[in-house]
Amino acid sequence: MITLSLMHYLAVSLVLFLIGICGIFLNRKNIILMLMSIEVMLLAINFSLIVFSVYLDDVMGQLFSLLVLTVAAAESAIGLAILVIYYRIRGTISIDQINLIRG
């Protein structure tokens, strides 16, 4: 039986985070996928916060994680709201066509 050490947990968290990042900049089609990637990144951070909280035997990490959950919920709510408004104006949510403000 493999004993799970701190490194394993952190590795999972890091991989999850990197998947979120890759999802942001490899994804060229759908803006909803982007929001989901941000959620994934926030989950990865939450995960590592909880892992460290258990490892260090400190409740503060779990407190932060609860806070991040609320912030993430609020953020995705606002993000989806912006998305809906954007869709109403442009009629599309393809990221390829969102480049009106180039330099």
Binding site: I21, I24, F25, R28, I95, I98, N99, R102, G103
Partner: protein, 676 residues
């Protein structure tokens, strides 16, 4: 009175220059001519007091420059040397002023002309009376300026403008040497007052100093640099090309500036600095060679010139060569004597030539003259007196100075002396030839000019005749009258103004030469006259045959084109310099490199860089995200590698980083270059 001699011409020049419009033609003419005659009278008095009675007058007027060791004051020194120059300058100038009144009668800008003439006289007087080198330099540059103004007096003629610029530039080359010489004098003597420099000259002989990283004899370097100045001003071989071209000015200008006064400034300066030159034998050697070569060169060129004034201009050049090599043989007094005599007969020749030109309706080509003997008997007489004096006809003025110069050269018994003697004697032959050629072509031969010109020909009006007569009297008698005074054995006339080392004194040897040697110049000039008689009058077919075969034509062209010196200067000197000025310094450097690395290149580079930077803002969210992640990674990496990166973070290096970045960007981005 002594100060008035110098400043009266300045006053009249400035008055006429400022108020000529209100004075009118008569008023300005009256003012300038009368002030010049008063100056001449006063300088005669000065000559009597200073030179004859031996009371040297030294006036310290006011301080000029005071800066630590350098102390220069406005000072005027009247000794024998200055007195002789004063008499020459003021007399010739006064007579030329008077002559111009009639000669320039129909010119609309007569007041300006008279004012420039007076201004020139002032600068020349400033040059000869100064008691320090800076004042000499002031006069030196001033006469150059006045000569520029006078040569292109008819400023609407392009040729006059070009000649004036040429005169100015050629003179300026010499002036640069003179200025270097003055600086060297100050560096060595720590003073540029004549009295200090000349008194201490023996103590600095045979000592070296560094010049252009070479260890050279001090006095030799100083004297050679001063001589470069004299070469420019006195039209010696090398910088002589401006003098014949300066004939573009009105004839009185040629008489005043390019015959009697300005060109003698170089000889005067060498004589003035005789205490320096005496301790620099190498410089004297160079002076002798250059002077003798000039005498020979100009005499041969004068032989085939067809322009009346150019012939006389080359004769001036040749006679200046005599004066200079006489200085090189340490006979400064003889040189000054010849200078004085030459001023009289050369002014006479030029003014007579002016009279001829005036009579022929401004025709200057001798080939289109002839037969003026019966039409202009007075002018012919004057011209003949001048020419005979110039060729050294016995008992005329030129005889007394020119023959002595040649005898001195023979009596020197050195390489340079013998060289100078032979070239000088040959020049006598050519001088005689071209003088008589001029007489024959202009006066005696059958005429070649138009009937209308012959009809209108008239002898000089009385105002032009008076100066000619006075100068003719001078050309006949001055040499005889002042011979014993100025170059007699043991004369005390020059007192302390000229200095000759006893070793270099050869007047006794030259006095007791063989009679056969003494007759050489006379023989040569007689031969020249005979050849001129044969070629230009008696047997002109022979003349034609001589110049029509290939060899003869080659020689003729070579001499007529002034030994091709001007062509060589233009092709190998002027043209490359002009090309350098345009293509290298202007096109390559100013609008090329400096623009590219300076304002224009930098601004273009910044524009390119900023457009490059703004192209990063593509508008695509995933690009932004990628850059954000990259930036975050770099920042984290930078902070984590802090012990290593901190080594490279000295703020002295930021500037170099910026430059490197710019250079890399310009290398990466070739479009920056294309925009040039």
């Amino acid at each position: 009175m002594y100060l008035l001699i110098v400043f009266l011409p300045l006053l009249s020049a400035l008055t006429v220059l400022s108020f000529g419009r209100y004075l009118g033609r008569e008023g300005s003419v009256l003012l300038t001519v009368s002030s010049l005659f008063i100056t001449a009278a006063m300088s005669t008095t000065a000559f009597y007091e200073v030179a004859l009675c031996g009371s040297v007058c030294h006036i310290k007027l006011a301080p000029w420059i005071t800066s630590e060791l350098l102390e220069i004051s406005w000072g005027f020194l009247f000794d024998s040397l200055t007195a002789v120059m004063l008499v020459v300058v003021t007399y010739v100038s006064a007579l030329v002023h008077l002559y111009s009144v009639s000669y320039m009668e129909e010119d609309p800008h007569l007041p300006r002309f008279m004012s420039y003439l007076s201004l020139f006289t002032f600068f020349m007087l400033m040059l000869v009376t100064g008691d320090n080198f800076l004042q000499l330099f002031l006069g030196w540059e001033g006469v150059g300026l006045a000569s520029y103004l006078l040569i292109n007096f008819w400023y609407s003629r392009i040729q006059a403008n070009k000649s004036a610029i040429k005169a100015m530039v050629m003179n300026r080359i010499g002036d640069f040497g003179l200025a270097l010489g003055l600086m060297a004098i100050f560096a060595v003597f720590k003073s540029i007052d004549y009295s200090t420099v000349f008194a201490t000259a023996p103590f600095f002989s045979n000592e070296n100093f560094l010049f252009c990283n070479l260890e050279l004899d001090q006095l030799t370097v100083i004297c050679l640099l001063l001589f470069v100045g004299a070469v420019g001003k006195s039209a010696q071989l090398g910088l002589h090309t401006w003098l014949p071209d300066a004939m573009e000015g009105p004839t009185p200008v040629s008489a005043l500036i390019h015959a009697a006064t300005m060109v003698t400034a170089g000889v005067f300066m060498i004589c003035r600095c005789s205490p320096l030159f005496e301790y620099a034998p190498d410089a004297l050697f160079v002076i002798t060679l250059v002077g003798a070569s000039t005498a020979f060169f100009a005499a041969t060129v004068g032989v085939v010139q067809n322009d009346l004034k150019r012939v006389i201009a080359y004769s001036t050049c040749s006679q200046l060569g005599y004066m200079v090599f006489s200085c090189g043989l340490s006979s400064y007094s003889v040189s000054m004597f010849h200078l004085m005599n030459h001023a009289f007969f050369k002014a006479l020749l030029f003014l007579s030539a002016g009279s001829v030109i005036h009579a022929m309706g401004d025709e200057q080509d001798m080939r289109r003259m002839g037969g003026l003997l019966n039409l202009l008997p007075f002018t012919y007489t004057m011209m003949l007196i001048g020419s005979l004096s110039l060729v050294g006809f016995p008992f005329l003025t030129g005889f007394y100075s020119k023959d002595v110069i040649l005898e001195l050269a023979y009596g020197k018994y050195t390489v340079s002396g013998t060289f100078a003697h032979w070239l000088g004697s040959l020049s006598v032959f050519f001088t005689s030839f071209y003088s008589f050629r001029l007489i024959y072509l202009t006066f005696i031969n059958k005429t070649n000019s138009h009937k209308s010109l012959i009809e209108g020909a008239h002898d000089a009006p009385i105002i032009m005749a008076i100066p000619l007569m006075i100068l003719a009297v001078g050309s006949i008698f001055v040499g005889y009258v002042t011979k014993d005074l100025m170059i007699g054995l043991g004369t005390t006339f020059w007192s302390h103004s000229l200095f000759v080392l006893p070793v270099n004194m050869t007047s006794v040897e030259s006095e007791f030469l063989d009679a056969s040697i003494k007759c050489i110049p006379l023989f040569f000039s007689g031969m020249g006259a005979t050849v001129a008689f044969i070629l230009c009058y008696a047997n002109r077919r022979l003349n034609f045959r001589l110049t029509s075969n290939p060899v003869g034509r080659g020689i003729y062209t070579f001499l007529n084109k002034r030994w091709l010196v001007d062509a060589v200067y233009n092709v190998y000197g002027a043209a490359p310099l002009m090309r350098f000025g345009y293509s290298t310094s202007f096109r390559l450097l100013d609008t090329g490199f400096i623009q590219m690395f300076g304002p224009r290149g930098l601004s273009t580079l910044l524009l390119e860089l900023s457009s490059l930077a703004s192209r990063f803002q593509s508008g695509y969210v995933y690009h932004y995200a990628f850059i954000m992640v990259c930036g975050a990674t770099i920042l984290v990496g930078f902070i984590n590698l802090w012990p290593f990166t901190s080594l490279y973070l000295s703020n002295k290096l930021y500037f170099i980083y910026v430059l490197l970045a710019l250079m890399c960007a310009s290398l990466v981005n070739p479009s920056v270059e294309e925009n040039k």
